[in-house]
Structure formats: C-alpha cells, structure tokens
Amino acid sequence: MEMKMSKSKTCKSILLAAFILGAGCKERYIPKEIATNYSYLVVDGFLNAGNDTTTITLTRSKTLEDKNSFYPELSAQVRVEEEGSGNMFTLDEIGNGKYQVPLLPLNPSRKYRLNIRISNGGVYQSDFVVVKNSPPIDSISWDQNEEGVTIYANTHDPQDSSRYYRFEYTETWEHHAEYSALYDYKNGAVVYIADPDSNHYKCWTTQRSTDILLASTARLDKDVLYKFPLRKILRNAEEISVKYSTIVTQYVLTEDGYQYWNLLKKNTEELGSIFGPQPSQQTGNIHCISNPEEPVMGYLSATTGLKKRIYINNNEVLPWQYPRNCQTITVDAIPDSIQWYFGMLGYSPIDSVTAPPGKKYNASQKPCVYCTFTGGTTTKPSFWP
C-alpha cells in the first residue's frame, strides 16, 4: 500500500490558492549548470531463474541535454558467479550492449553475483543476491469508468514470502486508419495497391511500460495483492479503438531491491508535489571494484519473470470512439492536381470514381489514410489472433 499524494497533473491542481486564482504554475525548465558529462556504467537486466533467457544490457549514462539516446558498452566480459561453488556462467555479447545466456541453471538455495570487466579494464561486481521465485500471476483484470479503463494485477503467494513485487508490461494494440485505401501516392504517381493487406490501414503499436510499478504487501496480513493498478487508458483513446493486448511480467524482489526501485521511482517519478520528498543520491548493489568512488547504475535481482497476457476488444468497452476529424476531397486525376494535392498539400488517395468529366480520386489527409502516422507498424505481431 502506498501513502503518497497523487502526483499533480497540472499546476492548477497543486494548491487551493491556485485552484481559485489559477495562479500556480509549472513550466519546462532545464538548469544551465548541468554540463559535465557523467558517464557511468548502467547495468540493466536480471538473472532469470525461470526457463528463459537472461539478458543484461550494459550502457553508459549521459547528460540531460544529450539527445543521442544510446551509448552501449561493447566488448565487455560478463559472467555470473555462484556463491560457494565458484561456478561461472558466461554471457555472450550479442551486440548493442546486450549480453545473453539462454538458460541459467540457478539453484534457489544458492546466491549469485555478476562480474563485469569492460574493455577499458574497469572491473565491476554486484553483491551476492538470493533467488526469489515468483508465484504465478492470478489474473490481470480491468474495469471501466467514465474516465476510461484501468488494468490491474492480482496475485498472491500462499507461502506469504514474496511480499515485494515489481511489474512491467508490454502492450500492443491494433488501430486502423479512417479510410482503407486502394491507391497510394509514390514517386510522383498514384499507384494501385495490389495486396489489400499492405495498404497501411491496419497497424500494431507496441510499447513497453516506462513507470516503475512497485507493490508491497509487507503491511498486509496475507501476501495478497488485489487490484494493483498497472495502467490507465483514457476514454476513447486509440489503444482500445480496435483491439488491445498487454503482457504483464511479474518480478519478486528482496526488500533491499524494493528499496532501490522505490527510491529510483521517487527520484524520477514522484518529485515536485508540495510534500514530495527531496531527491537523493542512490547506490544499488553493483560496485566498481577498480575505482570504488565511481557510482554504478542499476540493481541486480535473480527472479523468475512470470508473464500473463490479456486482450480487450473495442466491443467490450463501448461506447468508445477514437475521435478523428477526417474529411474527403476529390482530386481530378490530372497531373497538375495530383502534384498539387498529393505532392504539395500532403493528401493521400483513397479510391477512385469515374464520372463525367473524368476520373477523380477520393482523398483525405495523411493521418486519416496512413495508420502508421500515429505510430506502429503494419506488420501483424506473431501472437496476434
């Protein structure tokens, strides 16, 4: 159970005075002082105690101003060490800073740690961590009210020993353009789309959870997590305009691991409310052996990442109307008009009508014809029914 103030959404909701006078204010701001480049090693991933791949991603941190999104740490040696036996399991570099091993034979009664040697000779090591097996997710449920749909996780541990949970989800939704086009405008000419499935009408967008979703039942009598909110989808959002699916991964954490994630959450997600905590420096369980002063980002856990998927169809949440403002125009099938409307103004052809004095295309704005305009791909995911 969390006792915190709801994160203020706008400056108006911050304070009563602001409510009444509309005076409170929240503005974008980046202080100039933060210029130094602090490049620290970031260790992302967990030791998978289930029958699945263990992937550890090594990257470097960057400045706030830096728009280049990714600095992978290449050519590192990454090994998992078993406490006591000294058994070592090597993770193979698969590129882009990712290091993998298909299956780690983790013994639940032993502890494990990660050893990393990077290309410049720096040596890093995590603390020994216990293996926490996760109970299965009971269900992923959802309900709907005026504001939209909320998706919840429900889980329980009959042994009452899990207590600290972290969730991640990867959601995918199908969404359609307003019009299903028979034609496309390519290289200055209107072409007929031969394969009706390739007309950028149906799209699938996939995205990973970004918030740190933490739950604790430590204060409850029983280790029962009931209706822990994972995701809120606002009413009439594109996500459930056709069909929506989410796959939820549940990790069980140690208390220390929970504290790390909780502080990381506080440091990045919960600051700024009036009674919000001060941000603070944090250290995880990974250390730089070669230079003890150097901080290392990330926290290593060993757990099973159990998953559960659900689907929500548009007809289950009706009325649900993704709002679009689409109108069609007609464009004479003559080069000048085609050039003007499709080339210059960015309209897209839909279909054609032939009526005196000649052939015309029905057309609309690009977002109404190309589903990819709001994101996603036209490739149907393999799991999609």
């Binding site: 602001a18 409170g24 929240k26 992302d44 204060r219 990045t268 941000p279």
Partner: protein, 924 residues
C-alpha cells in the same frame, strides 16, 4: 506661605492677566506645514513685538499647519488653538501666555520655589498634557501626569538608598495590560520594560523622579513620583488617537539600544496589520519572515528558519502553550487569529533562560487580555476566510474575556467551480481562541487560554489529510511583595494528524499520529536591588507520543493494524538568571539553565552492534522496559549570557553566548513543515541536539530614537542535527534510528537592520548574509553524504533582503509595500540520465550541490479606513492590494520527472502571477 496657597495665587494671576489682555492689530502673514510650535513662536516673535511664555514640553507633540495672509496675531492663534485644550492670553506688555486647561493640584513639586521665576516654571503649574482635542476623558486621569505620586511610607526625612516601585501599565480605554512598555527615568539609564502582564519592577534611588512611560501606539505618559520606600504605582496609558489638526506619532523607543537582550525582534499587531499579505488577512508569521535572520523554505510554508536553524528548532508559544503546527491551508495562513494577538517577540540569539527545549529561537505570541470596560468586537471578511472576535468584561474590572474564531469557506468555493478536478478537492480550516483573565485582588491574577484549530484537505485524490492543534494553559500570578512575584503555569498541548483513504476497499486505511505534552512551570522574579534583578524557576514537560498507528477501515480491508509503540519522555529544567547593572553603561545578563530529559517506558529499545551503521541487520538485542522505567537520561547545562555596553545615549554594543539543548525532533524529508512530519523523542539511539551560538551586535539610533539601526554577527554550532538517510522511510517506522543520521551543523551570518518607527513613512529594511551547512562524515552511521564534506542545508539562502514601507497619506488612507529578495535555496540536481527498465532514469548530484533561481517578490496594499470619530458603534476599513506585483514566477522547486520515457525538467511556482485581494475589516 504654604505651597498650596502659592499655587492658587499663581493660577489666579494667570486668570487675571487673561482678563486684562488686549490685542494689538498688526497684520502679518504666516505659512506653516507641520511645524513645531517652537518654530511658530520664533516666527511670530520675529515678525511682531510679542513674547511668548509657554512650556515646551506641553507642545512637544503639537504640530501646526496654517496659511494666512494679513491677519492679526490673536486671529492666527485662535486658528491654531481652535478645538484644542490650549488657551492663550495676551497682557498689556505684549506677552502671550499659552497654557493648557488649568487645574489645581493638591501637592506642589519640590523645587518649585527655586524655579518659579523662570519661564519653565510653568512646567510645574497645574497644566494637563492632552493633545487629543476630540477625546473625552475623565479629568482624574488627565491630572495624573503632573500630580506628584507619593510612594511608600513617608518618613520625616527621605532616607538615602533605593526603593522599588512595582505596578501595572494598562490601557485606559479597555484596561488591558500593555506589554513591553518602557518605564524609565529620563536622563539616567534606569529603566525597565513591562512583562507579559504589563507588570514592571523598577529600583530607583529614593527621592523625586520623573518617570516616563512609552509604548508604541500609545501616548507617552509621565509620572511625577516621590519615592519614600517600596510601593506600587499603576499607570494608565492612552491610546494614541492623533487629532486631525496635528499629526504626531511619538514613540520614543530606545529599548533596542538600552536592553541587554540581543537578537530580540518585537513586532506589535499594529505593524503586522500594515504588511500586505497574500489574502489580505494580517499574518503573524509572514511578518516574522521579513525580520533579519529569518527565512522560509518556500512560498507555501509557514515553517521558518532562524539563523540557520531547522523549522523544528523554533519554540512557538501562544500564551505559553506550545503550538506544533503554526500554519493553516498549506501555510497560506498562520495559526494565529490576528485579532486576538497583542504582539510577537522573536528571540534569535540570546534566548532568556526561562525558555528551553528548542535550539534556534523562541517565538512568543501574546494574546490580548480583552476590553475591561465594554463589550467590543472585531472581524473581517476576506476572499477565503472570515473571522470574528468578541471581547469584554464578564465581571467589571475583574474578569475579561476574548473569544475569537476564524473559518475558511474554500470548500464552498471549490464546490462551485465547475471543474472535476476542483470538485474532488477539499481544503478547509478553522480555529478558535478563548482567553480569560481574572483579577482576584491586587496580588492575584488568573489567566486561562484555550486554542483549537483543525485543517482538512484532499487534493484531487482519494486520500484525506487532516491535522489539529489543541492547547490549554492556565496561569496564576501572585505578587508576594513589591520585590518578588511568581507565576505558576500549567497546560496541555496536543497536536495530531490523520491520513485516511477508503477508495480501494482492500487497502482502506486510517493513519494517525499524535503528540501530547503536559506542562507545569513556576517562574519567579525578584528585584534584589537596584543593580540586580533575578529570574528563576523550574519547568517540566511530559511528552506522550503516538508515533503512528495504521488501521484498516471497513470489513473488506486487508490492512494489518500497525501501531508504532508509543513513547514517553520527561523534560525538566531549572533556571536562574541575573540581570546585573554594573554601571549605567554596562549591564549583563547571566543565565544558567540545567535541563534533564528522561526517556520513559514502556518501550522496546534496539541495541546495535558498535561501530556498525544503525541498520536492521545490525540489531544485536532488543530490551523491553516496563511502564514508568527510566530508559535513559540526558542532561546538561545551558548557558545564556549577554552583555550590553552603552557607548552613549544612542548607541551600544552587545554580545551574547548561548547554548541550547533539544530533546524532541521533527523528522522530515521534505524541505518545509508538512502535516505528515514525524516528531521523535531522543532515545538511547537518537541523541539530543545541541546548539551553541555566539553573537555580537552594534546598535545606533538616530533622530531622537526614531531611526534604529543595528548590525549583528553570529556563529553557531549544531551537534546531532537529524537528517534523513537517502531513501528513508519515515512513516510507520518501528526503528526510525535506522533511517536517520546525526549530522554536524554550522551557521554564521551578519544581519543589518534599519528601521523607522514613526513618521508618515515608516517601516524597515533588513539584510542578512547567512550560511548554514551540515556535515555527515561518519561511515559507521551510514553512507557518508557528499564525501563527508560540509553541504548546504535545505534552507541555506545566503542573501536575504526585506523592505517593508508604509506611507500614511492621511489618517484614513495609507499604502504599504514590501519587497523580498533572497538567494534561491539549494537543490540536488540530476547530473546524468540513464536507461533502466525501459525508460530514462536520473542520477542525482551531491546533496544540495545546486540552487534554484533567486526569489524576488514585491507586494502592495492600501488601507482605507472609515471616519475617525471616536464615538461610533462600528469602525470599518477596507484593504486591497496586489501580492506579487511584478508577477514573477518564483520557483518553489525545480524537479525532473520521467514522462513517456523521456526526462523533463519542470519549474514549479506557486504564485506565478500577480494576485489581487480585498478584505473588509470591522471593529465595534
């Protein structure tokens, strides 16, 4: 000839010349604007052959504004004195006598015969000093200024040596005591200041003296006394109601130069009411924040920091009751109803030995005692709140009451806003005060104060927050004899908060916190001799804390009841202090306080492995202590020494050295006082905080004490200041010692103050440069902060400038302006971004390594009062103004959040625009 007859003859003579006077018809032109009478006389004497005879003292507060062309002198004088008590007469030798209303005295001051031939002999004539032509006062009080009061038992001859006068200074209008009035003998350095009951004790040499009594907002009073032996003198002062003809505000306040006390800031409610505040309601704590050396963490907080102390290091007393949360509505209002407050005193460097228990300062808020003569009321209506206060006698001249209440109607406003977010939010408060004073007889007085406040709010979420202060104090004052009096005080103070949510039936909870303290104290004051006055006493506080209880709400709730074990502590202190006037130039105050704290069972106390951080994994043992067992004891002396050396009449140097101890701590990981802050007693694992301060000051007054200036420097050490560890859990923590750490603190600064107390333009300018730094370098306590170096405290704001200015255009119309500038407070900034678990995360800098942008604000207000007729049933005034005139978006905080996987920085301002307000106040 006996003196009485001589006197009558003199009067007779005056009347006679009056009758014989005739006017000379020379025509002259004069033009004066608020000139002194002296100037007028000089001018008239230069233009005519007239000679004036008058007592300058009678005219010291009389100002003349007149413009005439070609008029006779009698005509001019008639114009000047019309509607006043002054009478003039002109004799055949062109001599003009100007006197006040004549009266006969029964005694003639000694020395009369020697001086009768001189002009200033008029000073001994039976003339009253009453400049308020429109007031209607009983003549018996009017005489008191020149009446000679005989004090003590008259011997045949006045013995050499000294004697003591005691008495009360009261407001003639309503009989309320006047606190902090200066009672002194002019031309010598002998004087005192009345205490919280308006009581004074003054040791003087036997013989004749002229006492002067001054207090801000009151007309100066004088008493001629003949001191034979110890005795009593009660003094009534008149409200200063300036006559419309001549504007004078006289307040000879020299106490900043003459008092031994240093770092004492005193503000009367009149001054407080002139300062513009955000919602138009006079606010005690807002004014405190403008004083040098006082800063606040942010806009919406009434927690304040004095000379680098934390917000919990201030002892806030409301008629001796400790107020734990001095704010309402997130700090937009302070807990004190301005209509019930008489004045405030803030001790920031030399804290009198009678106070203890907090490290940094004492803020003493005193309520009014209530009108002794008639039922009266005051009130006001502002944009968010309404208030009403009623006062009056219950039993004439014996018992008075003041009852005040305040409430917000913000909930009503929120309900009427057509916005879902607002409709779901709630915010309201109320408070009520009751103060009763009863006089059994001249030696025994009883005072009862009750206070209750409640706040409740909910901000567009399911969670409701509420908190409440409740206080009761009973004081009995007994005067043993003229040299010795004592006060016995007892009371209960209570603060509690409550957080609850029932939106999710499985998680529905109710979290409570409560602190109660039971006080008893005996304070005595003994005027040992002319040079020594002693204060001593004993005080005891029993603390009872319920540091948190979590309970399920409803049948479906799975919340496990979780109760952090209650704790008890007893703080006892004895003190003695001596104010010693070594010479007329040098005075010292030596105070010693010895305090002791017992942590009392029942309680389970953890022991931790020595040399290892206090963490759960290092608990070696848990010991159970039974009810009433003393678990451990901390004790130690606190020294309070201050000295004043008067260089001359208008300047002095003061120095002080203070040590303080604090046994109760508020632990917070937000920068301001928030309703969910935890208070924790010292226990075997949490040591008391120790403070030590040395300060030095220079004071200089200009223009007959109407302009005060001062410079003070200080250096302060704080030991065992509690700061939270990174990622600390504070609520419902059964072993709080594992989440907090002791730090060392140091603070130093220099403060400048320039203050003009009177005149059309009055106000003050204060500037302070101050630093506050903390240090945690002991790895056995936990991870060291900032590599064990000193780091700035959350409230470290080096430069602070405050300007408060009032300009009175007419009696009914005045304008005020205040300007606030300060360095931005320190923050911890993110220095690196990294990807973890699918999103960008932040790595933060060293603690408090950066600062938010500087703070600047300018407010403006004007007050229009109704007509100034003294006799009308309702006096009303309007005040209107603009808060944050320049509309500057002062950052309350800078913070960074991850939104859709990308880090965004935000600047949060609470008042991002100019806020106009209007308030209606009334009084009857």
């Amino acid at each position: 000839m006996n003196p009485v007859r001589k006197n009558i003859l003199f009067i007779f003579f005056a009347v006679l010349v009056c009758a014989k006077g005739f006017s000379q018809e020379k025509l002259i032109s004069v033009s004066f604007d608020q000139s002194t009478f002296e100037d007028v006389v000089k001018d008239l004497e230069s233009k005519t052959d007239f000679h004036f005879y008058y007592d300058p003292i009678q005219f010291d507060s009389f100002q003349v504004s007149i413009h005439v062309v070609d008029k006779s002198v009698p005509y001019i004088l008639k114009q000047i004195f019309q509607g006043t008590d002054y009478r003039f007469s002109i004799d055949s030798h062109d001599r003009i006598y100007v006197v006040k209303r004549l009266e006969i005295l029964t005694t003639l001051p000694p020395g009369f015969f020697d001086k009768r031939s001189r002009k200033d002999s008029l000073a001994y004539a039976n003339i009253t000093a009453d400049t308020s032509g429109e007031t209607d006062k009983p003549t018996n009080t009017a005489t008191s200024e020149n009446k000679l009061y005989e004090i003590g038992i008259k011997g045949l001859q006045t013995k050499p040596g000294s004697a003591i006068i005691t008495g009360y200074v009261k407001d003639s209008k309503n009989g309320e005591p006047i606190i902090g009035a200066a009672v002194y003998v002019e031309n010598t350095k002998t004087g005192t200041v009345t205490d919280q009951f308006g009581y004074f004790t003054l040791t003087l040499s036997r013989g004749r003296h002229q006492l002067k009594i001054t207090s801000v907002g009151m007309k100066d009073a004088r008493r001629q006394i003949m001191l034979y032996s110890d005795g009593k003198l009660n003094i009534e002062m008149f409200d200063f109601i300036p006559s419309l003809k001549a504007i004078v505000v006289v307040a000879e306040k020299a106490s900043n130069v003459k008092g031994v006390q240093m770092g004492l800031e005193k503000v009367s409610i009149r001054t407080i009411k002139q300062v513009p505040v955000v919602f138009g309601e006079a606010d005690v704590l807002r004014v405190v924040l403008t004083l040098p050396g006082v800063t606040s963490v942010g806009e919406a907080s009434t927690g304040f920091n004095v000379r680098g102390g934390a917000a919990d290091q201030n002892l806030i007393l409301f008629n001796d009751a400790t107020v734990y949360n001095p704010s309402h509505l997130f700090g937009f209002f302070s807990a004190f109803n301005p209509d019930c407050v008489q004045d405030i005193e803030l001790y920031k460097s030399s804290i009198p030995e009678k106070y203890g228990g907090r490290l940094s300062s004492v803020l003493d808020v005193t309520t009014r005692n209530g009108n002794k003569k008639k039922i009266a009321g005051t009130g006001g209506i502002g944009p968010l709140t309404g208030r009403f206060t009623l006062e009056g006698p219950i039993w004439k001249d014996r018992t008075t009451f003041v009852i005040g209440a305040r409430t917000s109607y913000s909930n009503w406003i929120l309900r009427n806003l057509h916005n879902d977010e607002f409709n779901k939010s709630k915010a309201s408060f109320y408070d009520a005060n009751l103060h009763i004073s009863h006089e059994f007889n001249s030696k025994n007085n009883l005072y009862i104060t009750g206070y209750i406040s409640k706040d409740q709010f909910k901000l567009n979420s399911d969670t409701t927050y509420g908190y409440s202060n409740r206080n009761l104090s009973i004081k009995w004052k007994h005067i043993f004899n003229s040299k010795f009096y004592g006060i016995a005080t007892t009371g209960i103070d209570n603060y509690q908060y409550d957080v609850s949510s029932s939106a999710n039936p499985v998680n529905a909870f109710d979290l409570k916190f409560k602190i109660s303290q039971y006080n008893a104290r005996f304070d005595f004051s003994y005027a040992a001799s002319a040079k020594h006055s002693l204060d001593f006493g004993v005080t005891s506080v029993l603390y009872k804390l319920d540091p948190g209880s979590l309970n399920p709400v409803g049948d479906k709730s799975l919340v496990t009841p979780d109760i952090v074990q209650p704790e008890q502590g007893l703080e006892t202190a004895v003190y003695v202090g001596d104010k010693f006037d070594i010479s007329s130039k040098l005075s010292i105050n030596i105070g010693l306080r010895y305090s002791m704290f017992n942590y009392i069972g029942p309680h389970d106390v953890n022991s931790y492995a020595e040399g290892l951080p206090k963490e759960e994994s290092n608990i070696t043992d848990t010991t159970h202590y039974n009810k009433g067992n003393v678990i451990n004891t901390y004790r130690g002396p606190e020294y309070r020494v201050s000295a004043r050396f008067a260089i001359n009449d208008v300047s002095s140097i003061k120095a002080s050295y203070n040590t303080t101890r604090q046994y109760i701590h508020s632990i917070s990981n937000t920068a301001s006082i928030s309703p969910t802050d935890i208070w924790k007693l010292s226990d075997p694992n949490i040591k008391p905080q120790l403070g030590e301060q040395i300060s030095l000051g220079y004071y200089h007054n200009f223009r007959s004490n109407t302009i005060e200036t001062s410079v003070e420097v200080y250096y302060k050490n704080i030991d065992n200041y509690l700061d939270y560890k990174s990622g600390a859990t504070l609520i419902l923590n059964h072993h709080l010692e594992t989440d907090v750490m002791n730090t060392k603190g140091r603070a130093y600064g220099i403060e400048f103050l320039l203050k003009r107390t009177t005149g059309k333009l009055n106000g003050w300018i204060s500037y302070a440069y101050s630093r506050t730094e903390l240090k945690m370098d002991d790895p056995s306590v936990g991870p060291v902060i900032n590599h064990g170096n000193y780091y700035p405290a959350n409230y470290d704001k080096p430069n602070n400038l405050n300007v408060i200015a009032n300009y009175r255009f007419t009696h009914r119309f005045s304008m005020s302006m205040n300007v606030v500038y300060s360095t931005g407070r320190p923050i911890t900034l993110p220095v690196a971004v990294f990807d973890l678990a699918g999103a960008q995360r932040l790595y933060y800098s060293d603690r408090n390594a950066y600062r938010i942008p500087d703070y600047f604000r300018m407010d403006f207000s004007m007050t229009l009062e109704g007509n100034h007729k003294v006799k009308q049933w309702l006096h009303s005034s309007w005040s209107a103004g603009v808060y944050n005139l320049s509309g500057r978006k002062n950052p309350y905080s800078i913070y960074f959040v991850q939104e859709n996987g990308v880090i965004h920085g935000y600047k949060l301002s609470i008042f991002g625009t100019a806020i106009p307000f209007i308030t209606y106040n009334f009084k009857f």
